[in-house]
């Protein structure tokens, strides 16, 4: 990736400031259409998802009480993996975006929801909803570009440590929820100096994370394995039951982490996605913000099941345009959004999961090495423009 302002061919040179504002109005109109019909159907959807997930989790956990029997282990592990994916993606992520706040149900609300992830909801909302969604793909502002451990843009300075980034990325994928928690804590930056380490605010947040991790680890690796012991004793294989359940939980967590990491890599890293200079967003208008979301996100094509299992983040472009609309509506607006891309001659980046994941990984490998050519100078004439220019 090279920031749009340094590219040889500017993909939005053909748009005038008026075009961009018109584009913004058309997107607002799409948003209004959904707001007008948002209601019963969306409430039913999220309640059904929660009910399905909780039943699936209870069922899988119950089956895992018999984890000493291989078929039960396989069935329970698959069920638990799916349940954990649903819980994080279609339920947690979307509720924490405030998509269902309109229901006024205090149980399903962005201010009260807590999810099965190492990162406490409150901290994640700050780094994700506030920073990532506002500053999408702005190098230096949006830390989701590489999560502070990788170089995913030519504009980021290369260091020898980046040679190892394919390995870091793989480890991060396996333990993604902990990676996200560390990222929310800005662990690297905060541990570097004594002053930062001892900052009471940082320490308080770190304690919250540790408390949450401790509870979840106890649940997955102590309590549930212990619950499987009676069956283990009954068949004379208590250790098999204990470690079998531990392994099942580990595999489910691993599967969830690999899956969410892959889906999220597809959102902003594949080829064709644009990044932006820090200076380019000063005084950004609503139309320009929309345009940046359009250019900075990528979709995954696939079936309805695929969309649900990704929490509709397969519609990353639509999600970034309308982060607070119920995610199950993205499929509905996608054709309209895509038509806008075509009319304004913009690149709608989408593709099958395997292809997109490969594209993102290729970039991780390529940028582990220094750039072949030095970066071009910033072309300040390229929009998103400063409001003074829009007015002129």
């Amino acid at each position: 990736m090279t920031t749009l302002q340094r590219k040889e061919v500017n993909p939005i040179a053909h748009l005038s400031p008026e075009d961009i504002e018109q584009l913004g109005r058309e997107l607002d109109a799409i948003r209004d259409e959904i707001l007008a019909v948002r209601g019963e159907q969306d409430a039913r959807h999220i309640r059904r998802m929660i009910a399905v997930q909780r039943r699936l989790e209870l069922g899988s956990r119950a089956v895992l009480l018999f984890s000493v029997f291989p078929p039960a282990w396989v069935l329970g592990t698959i069920g638990l993996s799916i349940s954990k994916i649903l819980e994080n993606m279609e339920i947690g992520h979307n509720i924490l975006h405030g998509q269902y706040d309109f229901m006024r149900d205090p149980k399903i609300h962005s201010t009260t929801w807590e999810w099965d992830s190492a990162s406490p909801a409150e901290q994640w909302k700050h780094s994700h909803n506030e920073l990532h969604h506002k500053y999408t793909n702005v190098v230096g502002r949006d830390n989701d570009l590489g999560y502070g451990i990788m170089r995913v843009d030519e504009q980021q300075r290369w260091a020898p440590a980046h040679l190892g980034q394919p390995l870091y990325n793989f480890v991060n994928a396996c333990f993604f929820e902990y990676g996200i928690a560390a990222y929310d804590l800005e662990l690297g930056r905060n541990l570097r100096t004594k002053k930062r380490r001892n900052n009471p605010e940082f320490r308080a947040r770190a304690r919250q994370v540790l408390h949450k991790i401790r509870r979840q680890v106890t649940r997955d690796y102590v309590v549930h394995p212990a619950l499987a012991l009676p069956v283990g004793f009954a068949v004379g294989n208590p250790l098999g039951a204990l470690f079998g359940t531990m392994a099942a939980n580990f595999v489910a967590n691993l599967a969830r982490n690999l899956w969410t990491h892959s889906v999220i890599m597809c959102g902003h890293f594949p080829n064709g996605v644009e990044t932006f200079e820090r200076t380019s967003i000063t005084g950004e208008t609503r139309g320009e913000w929309y345009l940046r979301q359009m250019l900075g996100s990528a979709n995954i094509s696939g079936s309805k099941l695929m969309h649900i299992m990704t929490g509709n983040l397969s519609h990353q472009i639509e999600h970034h345009l309308f982060p607070d609309l119920p995610a199950s509506r993205y499929a509905e607006v996608a054709p309209k959004v895509r038509a806008l891309f075509e009319r304004y001659q913009l690149n709608y980046v989408t593709g099958p999961l395997v292809f997109q994941v490969a594209s993102a990984w290729a970039k991780v490998f390529r940028l582990a090495l220094p750039n072949r050519k030095p970066a071009r100078e910033i072309d300040h004439s390229i929009p998103p423009r400063h409001p003074a220019e829009v007015a002129a």
């Binding site: 707001l35 009910a51 909780r54 309109f102 006024r104 149980k107 099965d116 909803n129």
Partner: protein
Amino acid sequence: MPVNQTSLFTRRLRNGAWRVVELITTPVVPADYLDVIAPLRNPTVLRARIEAVRPETADAVTLELRPGRGWEPHQPGQYVRLGVDVDGVRLWRAYSVTSAAGRRDGRFTVTVNAVRDGVVSGHLLRHARKGMLVHLDVPAGDFVLTSPRPARTLFVTAGSGITPVMGMLRSALPELGDVVVVHSARTPEGVVFGAELRELAAQGRIRLIERHTRADGRLKPAALADLVPDLFERETWACGPGDMLDDLQEHWADAGAAERLHVERFRPTVLVAGDGGTVTFEKSGLVVDVAAGATVLDAAEAAGQLMRSGCRMGICFKCVLPMREGIVRDVRDGKLTTATEVDGDNVLIQTCISTAAGPCRLDA
């Protein structure tokens, strides 16, 4: 003392076991799983199941409710708040309990009268079905019978004002000696519980004075004095439209009998949207005029109020504050959000994209 030790031990054991159960379900609580299977068993969220739906008049319906765990019995005359999901949005309204107190089966009834343009009453009238769940709050209100019971009683009601009084009559009529009920409705058919009231009158258990306002016009206190000569010697309960109650209160005060009149006002829940408004921050005491188009966040910050904020464009939901009462407009799409006192739970609004569309009180 061995007894105490045992109970302490079992209590510890129970607490410990509960902590393990909480660990099993973390990060949510055990009740969240219970909700999926048995929604009425959740001790932290009070709900009720509609067991029967009975039409009363063309635009009134009685709901028989079976409350879940956490319910407390009501006193005759009290109301309950019902939280009903209309079009996916939970809206709260207060309804008087119309059934007799102390029913063996633990159920109670409310009678819902259609309010003009009433979102919730209209929804319940059309869609309430056996098996439906509603959210519930424990009974509240001090419009209740005094004890000991008065020897002579007068009830003055109009329209849906009969509902709390019906609860009182059904609960305590045998304990009340001499009872007069003066009830106004637009037409004879429009009298809620008309048949039951007339039956009680026919049995001589109450003296019923029915007034049909479409034919006879509205009842004035002076006319009431003609109908019930010993007016001020009776303990009186009145419920109905605000101006009727104003008239009665004035009349009773003039006679020096104000303490013998008990009134219940159904709060109006209709908020009319305007442009801009005064926003009161209850905790800090700050009062800010928010001009049309300006956001609550900007206006409050300009006035020196410390505000939580994040993206300032409506996407991060960090700036949400509870609105106790008021009406706001989304500056992006013009959508209105209202909160009334009955909402109770406080409606959370995003201050960064909300402008006042009338007076608002925020819990901040």
